[in-house]
Symmetry: C2
Subunit: 600 residues, 2 copies
């Protein structure tokens, strides 16, 4: 069978050869997760993804239906939802106390790559439930945990995130929903929320909504926003869902993609009253949200990357099968060949491969950082990996979803005219992927986060953690036969990059901060390209080391080395040019008069 | 009223200030088209586009319906189709002998920008009719012209182009449709054609199909393909449509966008017999097609660019109205501002502006080349402009539609989450635009055309025509106060570019041709970036010269200069890096083993 969703050989390469996930099993908490178990888990996840979840993808495109406050997901979702939860996949990485599997994030990442790549709109229900559950776990009272957590991690109840309002998108300070204390520790919530993914649907018996709202009399802006938990149905004393809690779905959006996931408008407390309980501290709602934000953003990065990988697999299979035109300069009597043989198609494929594999390594590396935080006994180590996660999050989300969209776009191009036809899978992957660049903070916001917060975090120590890791890979690769040129090139690039980053950080805190922020996006882009080159050089070094061990793997390893060569010699050359622009920091954008953009 | 579709001020700038369209009216054939008339035409076109055609755009997204061989366009199309043809807009540039208006292409371009930007799927019906009519005009017998031409240019009958078959997409040599001589000068046609835009619909009384097919016994490959004309209804002696000609629509495609234009599968001669007449010479069908190909490809470039312009207008208006977040580093008590005030949003807008305006100038310049070919009395001049059109066509189509897609994508990003919602106009513009990168030769094919044909055409004389024009702009800009740095930078870039182009041309004809063709796409990209920089520098020089003439225009002119600065200092810096990769021509793509792309 042709590979679907993700190339298993490459998944295994990252898990076992690049990251050596087995090392985690030396720690007691991960002792069960030796290589054999890991391989079994990935195989099971892949099986479920290909056999059960993937068939939902086309169906999901037909969308959900809305009628009188009720949302129905496509019928086929129900049995797969049951199968997914029967396998206890939602709580892969969670605490067994609450029904989790206690699995390393790195292993869960491989499973999730298959799940999300199979059908993102189905998985988004699960992703939101998991995110909401983590909020309860982190900020909930014992009661809140007892009532909600097991039901959520088992998928019996689902979760959401009620942040956005018509006038509060990127700017949460503008949240207007209110909370009125009832005197018994509960609050009555009022407000209109929009763009609520999975806000209402018919796969579960209850939906748990974390809600940002202002307690009456709270300070203006961010400092007056609190977080609440409001279930769709109030929970009875015996834990069963009771009375309707007046969270009314008033409609679902007609979107460009991800149709299988209902994007709801919700009105809270418009009729019978919506009762919520405070989650965490008063007026600390946004801070609580932000603590979970990195993880949510990493998940969006995974969503994008998984679609990119799926698109690459489809395009590769198609390019190997589609016969069109004879080879360049072949005699007129020659037979037509599979299009993979045409150099421009190969260029497109290697471009897709470079980003997909670079992003795979980067996503898995972030998962590994989570695991290393968990097993570190040394505070310094722990902090190092925490810092890495802080700095890499905007890259994984902002840069990652941009490039994933580009990969999906290239996937369409490989299909030629067929790529535009919805009967083939690549158009939907592109449409579905467009939202990843927008939600959980637009990619512009990610670039501002990188420049404005992460670059200066802990006096630069967080950012330095990234530089240290890249330097390590460069130092290791220096000793590898055959990679001298590539390593030298990346080292030169890296050295310029560190100067540019330092200068931009200073500028962002100077009077010229507007100029610096006009370059936040290009800076995120060059940082992302650097991350890709780092990961691909690391892969090439690993491949060189393992070459010859198994003869049948040599072509795979050669492919790793050539992909790194392609990226560093070709793509990164353009990035180096972009870095010159970052050095110069021409001020045209800031100086441009708003009226000069066009007549009114 | 906010500007929609295109910024009229900028359209006028290109027509009158950059290209001086008025100079054409010195020629007898264009004597009627002085400035006043031109402005009137553009105003009328804009009026029709905004009031009549634009309202079709949302409706068009609901698509056409197919039932038992019949295709219905959305109801609202009919009256607008009538209005469009009542205005005689289809034949703007055509010979008055056949009902055309004899207008300069440059003026028609401005009108078309509004029309296509208003609703591309509606306009595609007209575009195909026009293309088919031009084939008849160029290759038809007197009889064919008499029977078809006026009816087509008046929009009474429409046209198509029957090239593609399931196994013959990019590779026309694989065409399998056949033509059997009937002994009376007519042929019986048999075959299945797919992806036929406007192949069947209910807006006209007859549809005229130019068809590529092989006469029985013809040579294999391209050399055995002829072009035929087959109407949907055979034409009676009195010119009225008669008997059904057995061109049966077997279905329409479910596409990612452009839903309002029916993409049909057609079966010819499956039942009662499809009678066609030869158009042009036997076995010269592909050559005939290719003579019309440049114009068709330029039209696709316009299709993309018009959507990009529309998306920019929407995004700009939105960014001026959408209030979100206070200014960077403003005190917490400050009010939120329109998002255009945020530097990263400004960066996005200026990026869109640079491409839209660069592409506008390039598209209009191509139209002007058509006109200069027409009015040239000097053979050398005429050839010069013909050469320019040859070389610029793959840029306008390949590079132009790539960048237009990117601009539409940026348009979505400016809208934030709303961009993903189909209630807003920007998502559809992106979806509609995706096909432009695929049809009339994929953009990969365009890059191969540029490298393989246009670079070597007439021993390089065609390509040299482009270099001469760019040099002229650089020389002119040198004399302009304030543009010294920009001009010097572009001059340096240009000098490297000419070296790179020369080396790549040599390589493409050497044993290393595979390597050269693995760089055809990046070469097209740098050529396109150069074309943008050329056009933007020309604009800046023109703006500098005209500054101060009317005070109210100074902000507009300043915007021109800053946009050029942004593009040349920021975007072209990355292009310069890409040119380094083109210089080095690393061979990784070619050396990559096909099996190394992924396991099977």
């Amino acid at each position: 069978m042709a590979q679907l969703i993700a190339d298993r050989r490459d998944v295994d390469f990252v898990l076992h050869e690049q990251l050596d996930v087995d090392k985690l099993s030396k720690d007691e908490r991960f002792a069960e997760f030796g290589k054999k178990t890991v391989d079994l888990i990935v195989s099971e996840a892949r099986n479920l993804a290909i056999k059960e979840i993937l068939p939902l993808q086309t169906i999901s495109d037909e969308g959900c239906t809305f009628n009188a406050g009720e949302v129905k997901v496509p019928d086929a979702f129900h049995s797969v939802y049951a199968a997914y939860n029967e396998g206890e996949w939602l709580g892969m990485t969670d605490d067994p106390e609450w029904g989790g599997q206690g699995m390393p994030h790195t292993v869960a990442m491989a499973a999730n790559e298959y799940f999300y790549g199979a059908c993102n709109s189905f998985m988004l229900y699960n992703m939101l439930t998991h995110g909401a559950a983590k909020l309860v776990e982190k900020f909930g009272t014992d009661d809140q945990k007892r009532i909600y957590l097991k039901n959520m991690l088992s998928g019996k109840w689902s979760g959401t995130m009620l942040l956005t309002e018509p006038n509060a998108g990127s700017d949460l300070a503008a949240v207007e929903a209110t909370a009125k204390p009832n005197g018994d520790g509960t609050y009555s919530l009022f407000g209109n929320k929009i763009f609520i993914s999975a806000g209402e649907h018919d796969m579960v018996e209850n939906i748990i909504h974390p809600v940002l709202a202002r307690i009456e009399g709270a300070p203006e802006g961010i400092a007056g926003i609190s977080l609440f938990l409001a279930p769709k149905f109030r929970v009875n004393a015996d834990g069963s869902p009771g009375e309707f809690n007046d969270v009314v779905c008033t409609g679902i959006e007609h979107k460009m993609g991800l149709h299988g996931n209902a994007t709801c408008s919700l009105t809270l407390g418009g009729k019978s009253g919506c009762i919520g309980t405070l989650l965490g501290q008063e007026n600390k709602g946004v801070a609580a949200m932000f603590e979970m934000m990195n993880e949510a953003r990493q998940m969006v990065g995974l969503q994008g990357f998984a679609n990119a990988s799926a698109s690459y697999m489809y395009a590769l299979n198609y390019a190997r099968e589609r016969i069109q035109s004879r080879e360049l300069k072949a005699p007129a009597t020659s037979k037509s060949v599979p299009i993979i043989r045409h150099p421009d198609v190969k260029r497109q494929l290697i471009t897709m491969k470079a980003y997909v594999e670079g992003l795979r390594s980067l996503n898995y590396f972030c998962a590994m950082c989570h695991d290393l935080v968990a097993v570190s006994t040394d505070e310094e180590h722990k902090t190092h990996y925490e810092y890495l996660l802080e700095v890499l999050t905007p890259i994984v989300k902002g840069y990652g979803t941009d490039k994933s969209f580009d990969v999906c776009n290239q996937g369409i191009q490989i299909y030629g005219g067929y790529g535009f036809i919805e009967e083939f899978p690549v158009a939907q992957l592109l449409r579905d992927s467009r939202i990843f660049m927008l939600y959980e903070g637009t990619n512009g916001i990610q670039s501002i986060d990188l420049l404005g917060r992460k670059l200066s975090m802990k006096k630069g120590a967080a950012f330095n953690a990234l530089l240290v890791e890249i330097k390590k890979t460069i130092a290791d690769a220096k000793a590898v036969d055959g990679l001298e040129d590539l390593t030298a090139r990346l080292e030169g690039f890296f050295s310029t990059y560190t100067e540019v980053a330092a200068a931009l950080q200073v500028k962002s805190r100077s009077d010229e901060f507007l100029t610096a922020y006009a370059f936040s996006y290009p800076f995120m882009e060059v940082t992302g390209d650097l991350a890709m080159a780092w990961m691909l050089l690391w892969r090439a070094a690993t491949a060189t080391a393992n070459k010859g061990k198994k003869k049948k793997d040599n072509i795979f390893y050669d492919g790793q080395i050539k992909t790194a060569r392609f990226f560093i010699n070709q793509i990164l050359a353009a990035t180096a040019g972009k870095m010159e622009a970052l050095k110069a920091c021409d001020n045209a954008v800031v100086e441009m008069d708003e009226a000069a953009f066009g007549s009114k």
